[in-house]
Structure formats: C-alpha cells, structure tokens
C-alpha cells in the first residue's frame, strides 16, 4: 500500500513518495501522460467548495453566488492559458467528453451542409471511436496518415478537403509518442477553406504554449488531470460564433450548452492547476526537456533500441522507445516491481494486447512494436529518478532478453 507523502516543498514535490515505507522500495512515477497527482494546494482549494460553500451555482442566494464567482475565476484562468475569452470556455467532465462534444456537436449541427470529417490515424480513441460511431450514423471520415515520426502533413489535410467537409480534427500533441503536430499550419488551411478545426490538446495544455487565435483553432479539448488538476473535469474551448449541438442536454448551465450541475470544486481545482502549470511552464519545460534527453540517451545506449516519435518536435516530458525481442507488459511489470510506474502505449489500451495503433501508424515493424515503453516525466522528476530508471530499464531489458527465444546469442548475458 502507498503511504502518505512526505512533502519537502508541496509546490515542487507533487506526489513524491521516494520510498514505499513497507517495502523500502524506491518509487518513481514515470507515467505523467496517463495522469498526474493533484497538487496538494489544488486539493486544499477544492475542499471548501465541497463541504462549506457548496451552493448550486444556478441558485439565486448568496451561497450560490460564491460558487458562481469561483467558477468565473476558473473560466478566466483557463481562457488566459489558451489566449481565449472566458465566454469561449465551457466546462466538461474531461478530455474525452470534450472530444465527443466537439466532434458530434459539429457533426449534428452541420449535417445539412455536409457529412465529411477529416482526422488522423494517430488520434486518441476519444476522437477515433467517436468518428467510428458517426460513420454508423451516416458520416464519412478520412484518416490522414503520418510519417515515421508520427507527424501529419498539412498538405494532406488540404488535399482531403471536399465541399462536403464540415470538420478537421487533428490532435495537438500525441499521447503515446509525444509528437507535436503543425497545428497553426492546419488551422490556416482550415480557415482558408472555411472548414471548422478542432484539436485534442489534452496532452499539450499546461505543457507547451497554446494560442487559439494564432493557431486558428475553432474548438480545443483539454483535461485537468493531465496538468496536476483533479480527474473528471475538463473544458472545451468554442470560438465565439461557432455553433454546435449539445452533447449533454438539460438545464441551462454553461450558457445552455452543457447541462448538469457544475463540478464546482473540480472546476476551481482545474483553474488553479492550469494557472500554476502555465506559470511554471518555461522553467519546467527546460528542466524536464534536459532530463528527458538524458533518459533518452541512456535508453538508446541499450542495443537494438529505437526512439519512437519525433526527435525534436515532441512534448518536453515524453520518451517512447521500442526494445527488440521483448514484450511491453513484461517490461512494465518488472519495472513496477522496481517501483517504477510506466506505460506501454496509452493507458487506455495497456490492458489489451493489441499493438498500439499509433506505433503501427508510424511504421514501427510488427516484430518490435510489442516491445514499446513510454516514460513520461513530470515536475517532480529528479536527476536521481532518471539515473535509477535507466539502470532499472537496462537490467529489466537484459533479463527479458535472456528469457526470450528471439534474442540473438550476442545480446544474451549467458549465451
């Protein structure tokens, strides 16, 4: 079991549990792309909105006004982070709902004008499964390919546009390989052709700069738990003037666009977490990028190991490699025994054994695609964590290669 963390400095050491007290095992969290710990100060800010100033924001009395004011503050914080206006921010239950809302909302609102949607092959399932469902409802979907770095070519986007096209949806940064897409270029193309442009920025917001105006983005999804906010809350930015159907109908919350009593404490937490993430971004991005480079080099020193995703245009915190001759789940479980939390592909698919659609789309050969490891760093990652991780991965890879029938003799420890 996990034990209460010993904060050194709560704003730096987030969910830092250096050791499991029972086993004296070192604990290293290397899966920040899956989720992050809520900052202690964020959780502390949330609690009063649950137990004390708990009013329903839709009500008329003073208690409700406290909730409304707090939500307004969070809306402002989210807007500032995106370069948007507060009126363009709509709160949701997370990145997945935002993606579903943006895509289905536009599809249903614009189906009289056209039924064609353009997306990429490397989208998160929140986008791709939504598109698949829309296909069953009579829409058509073009899946753009990516190059070997996981990058969409803007020229492909332009070529795919037809008079029927109502929406382009391409993610800002990929959750598995970390590749950052040419969003401003795609936005410009969308603008030129008068097609709406949605981007799933769940992995980007709070980690790299975002500017919806400069990047010509009409709709943008984000999720709080990816930047040290609480789980179960997110937002959709909708450029003012863009009309779409609601996904969740009911009361008049969120200016009649997203019904349901607002998750006030979650929204407050998200706002605070995002403003802290944006404030710390320049410094953190530099420090984490340096750690990431050290980690990447350390891992690529293992023979028959290959980097996935773009060498430069990637999220500061993302390392994704494949090791030939071994399999991902085994790597994860052995790392887990060494106190390291990591991922193979996205968290959602890690419990199924199908190879990652992202790695496959990047052209990673089938015989090595199963041996992928994603390590994603965070604010609280230290130099010592990186060193420990490199050593542990080396040891685990060797153990598994010794166990594998595929390993050539020269890579075995006892040939």
């Amino acid at each position: 079991m996990f034990i209460a963390p010993q904060w050194e400095n709560p704003s730096v050491y987030l969910a830092r549990k250096e050791y499991d007290m029972n086993t004296e095992k070192r604990l290293v969290y290397m899966d920040h792309a899956a989720t992050t710990a809520t900052r202690p100060e964020v959780a502390a800010a949330m609690v009063p909105f649950m137990t004390s100033t708990f009013g329903n924001p839709s009500s008329l009395y003073d208690l409700a006004k406290v909730s409304r004011t707090a939500m307004d503050g969070a809306r402002e914080e989210v807007a500032v982070a995106l370069g948007a206006d507060p009126e363009e921010i709509f709160f949701t239950s997370g990145g997945t709902e935002s993606d579903n809302w943006a895509i289905k909302g536009i599809a249903f609102a614009k189906k009289a004008q056209g039924t064609h949607i353009i997306t990429s092959v490397i989208e998160h399932h929140a986008v791709s499964h939504t598109c698949e469902w829309l296909k069953k409802q009579g829409f058509s979907v073009t899946y753009l390919p990516v190059d070997c770095f996981g990058m969409v070519n803007p020229a492909d986007v332009e070529a795919a546009i037809t008079p029927e096209t109502i929406l382009i949806t391409v993610m800002m940064a990929n959750n598995e390989v970390g590749t950052i897409q040419p969003i401003a270029e795609i936005g410009a193309i969308a603008l030129k052709h008068g097609v709406l442009f949605h981007t799933d920025a769940v992995q980007a917001v709070g980690h790299i700069p975002v500017d919806v105006r400069a990047q010509n983005i009409d709709l943008l999804s984000l999720s709080s738990h990816k930047f040290h906010g609480p789980k179960g809350v997110g937002a959709l930015y909708i450029r003012s003037g863009v009309e779409l159907d609601s996904l969740i109908h009911g009361g008049a919350q969120e200016r009649g666009q997203r019904a349901g009593t607002e998750n006030v404490s979650g929204i407050v937490g998200m706002g605070l977490a995002l403003s802290l993430a944006v404030k710390g971004m320049p410094e953190n991005a530099l420090r984490i990028t340096a750690l990431r480079k050290r980690l990447t080099e350390g891992l690529l020193a293992i023979p028959k190991t290959y980097l996935n995703g773009h060498p430069e245009k990637r999220l500061p915190n993302n390392v994704n490699v494949v090791f030939a001759f071994i399999e991902g789940e085994s790597i994860l479980l052995m790392l887990n025994r060494r106190g390291i939390s990591a991922s193979t592909g996205s968290a959602c698919s890690s419990r199924s054994s199908e190879p990652s659609h992202v790695l496959t789309a990047c052209g990673v050969p089938l015989e090595v695609v199963h041996g992928s490891l994603r390590l994603t760093l965070g604010e609280e990652t230290t130099e010592a964590d990186v060193s420990y991780t490199i050593d542990a991965v080396k040891e685990v890879v060797q153990r598994l290669r010794d166990m594998s029938p595929l390993t050539p003799p020269e890579l075995r420890s006892q040939p």
């Binding site: 085994s330 479980l333 054994s353 090595v368 166990m403 594998s404 029938p405």
Partner: protein, 136 residues
C-alpha cells in the same frame, strides 16, 4: 491483475533457458502477435528428464510456460502431451479471463517439441485433438 503465484513464476521463472543438444525443440507463436514460446526437452526412455523454456510475451505467457515445464518434468511424453492449458492455469491459481489464451502457447510449444522428438526418431507425429493453438 495477476495473482501472487503468477507474479512469482514471472519474476523467478523455473526452468528458464535453453538445453544444448536437446532431444526435442518446439516453438510456437510469432513475434508479430506478441507471444512466442520455445520448449527444449531432454528425453530418456519416453520420460522427460529435463526441460527448459524461453518466452517472448506477457507475464501470463511467461508464467504459464514456466509452470508447464515444472508440470511435465519427470512425466512420460504421453502425460506431457495431455497436459491442458487449463491445468496449467489452475496450477497458477488462475489467470485473468482475458489472459487465459496466453497459457495455450505453452501447451502448443510442448506439443511441437514432443513431435520434433518423435519425428527425429522416425515416429509419426501425434495429432492435435482440437485445432492447433500455434497461431492463437
């Protein structure tokens, strides 16, 4: 996800490795599917005197291959042939439902190794009762 016994056999696999000059070798699965197991047999008077395995795959594949080698060591070839994947899973105190198929690979590799031994000695290969599990 996995119980402690599975994790123990995954972390400390029994009979892992290769046998030089094995009497029978069987390999099933393929790396594109994410699972491959190779079984090495040493046979004396129809009895398996030594067995080793190598596995590329998930923890369930590793643990069930390892458990299977333990279960067939000292058994006759016929007994080893009849070892079912569910017996292996039972010996591991169970596998998660969606990982049950991973134990098939050990059964398949054992069958392949036994038939390799038999055909090398000019004997007829035994037939699978059900469909081959080689490409699970």
């Amino acid at each position: 996800m996995y119980n402690e016994k599975v994790m123990d056999y995954f972390e400390h696999p029994r009979n892992q490795g290769a046998i030089e000059d094995a009497d029978g070798i069987g390999e099933v699965g393929n790396p594109e599917c994410g699972d491959t197991t190779k079984i090495y047999l040493q046979v004396e008077h129809d009895v398996i005197t030594d067995v080793k395995f190598q596995t590329f795959g998930c923890a369930a594949a590793v643990a069930s291959s390892s458990m299977a080698t333990e279960l067939i060591k000292g058994k006759t070839l016929k007994e080893a042939w009849d070892l079912s994947n569910s017996a292996v899973a039972d010996a591991l105190d169970g596998l998660p439902p969606k990982k049950l198929h991973c134990s098939l690979i050990a059964e398949g590799a054992i069958h392949a190794a036994i038939n390799d031994y038999r055909t090398k000695r000019g004997l007829e290969a035994w037939k699978e009762k059900k469909e081959s599990h080689a490409e699970h």
